[in-house]
Amino acid sequence: MVKVFKLVIAGPYGAGKTTFVKTLSEVVPIETDVPAQGKSTTVAFDYGKIRINDIVVHLFGIPGQERFNFLWRIIAKGMHAYIFMVDSSSFESVKSAIFMYNYFTSTFPTTPHIVAANKQDIAKVKISDVRTILGVKPDVKVVPLIAINKKMVLEALVVLLDEVHRLMYGSSLQRGNSHGTGNEKALM
């Protein structure tokens, strides 16, 4: 029997969710981006998938703009975990994530998640500041990310899966994990 692992990539406009799905998906992902403010933005959701033995990982990138928030709950329904992504290249971008992060953590309080500080190649906001601005709880990990870098995307996914395991079965499988919770200065 094929099982479904549902993973949601959340975060505000321009955080890099579409790129993350494209980097990870092994099939050509379906994108619903349209031009906006000189860039492009997702108006429905991004969708990709990966088949691993009898498990299909479904990846959903959620539209970041608040006017699409009616879709957030619909798409997130039945998810196993989520990565909350922020654009760490500016303080304004990180601050723009506060509403959505509060929405996710209050609507899905028991769902495992990590926060990914994307655009580390041009980062202006330290990981510890991302944690402070969003009010990330001490037991939630904040990881550095460059969404076009497959290695970093895979690392983020491994950290998330380890969180899923820890929360479901009470033990962490990561050894020597650099993505600490509250000691992120070492990452910068």
Partner: protein
């Protein structure tokens, strides 16, 4: 798209919206108050057969809506905009309609996926996923990436 229109016509549109019946297909960042007015107008257009164009002016917005089949393209402009300029907006309708249908069709293609919910997973399932992605990481590292 709104930026392109404003640059090409030298005007200052407040918003461009496309509706499929009452659902928004395309939209830029429009203030909530204007969005409610737009939704009200679209609701009216959808209820009246045979309407091709609608122009509504209030103190703070000039709304110009064009019906194209099931879609309604709506331009929100400053009320000081010369009404003659509205006809210039018609040239963008086809492009907006085409973009909207592409989005609608893509959304239809993935409609079954949106209802997907995760299955109950065992610890073994989680370990399989972890092993897989760690293996992918090792492959990348072995390639020196």
């Amino acid at each position: 798209m709104i930026k392109v229109i404003n640059e090409e016509l030298g005007i200052d549109l407040l918003g461009v919206l496309v509706f499929n019946n009452n659902d928004i297909v395309l939209a830029n960042d429009v203030p909530g108050e204007l969005m409610r007015l737009a939704a009200f107008l679209v609701n009216f257009i959808n209820k009246v057969n045979g309407i091709k164009y609608v122009k509504v002016k209030s103190n703070n917005v000039l709304m110009y809506a064009v019906r194209s089949g099931d879609l309604v393209v709506m331009f929100l402009a400053n009320p000081t905009l010369i009404e003659g300029a509205l006809s210039l907006l018609d040239r963008y309708v086809d492009k907006l309609v085409k973009m909207s249908w592409e989005i609608i069709n893509r959304a239809k293609a993935i409609e079954p996926a949106i209802t997907v919910e995760g299955d109950e997973l065992t610890e073994e399932d989680i370990l399989i996923l972890l092993d897989y992605f760690k293996g992918k990481l090792r492959e990348l590292e072995a390639k020196g990436e």
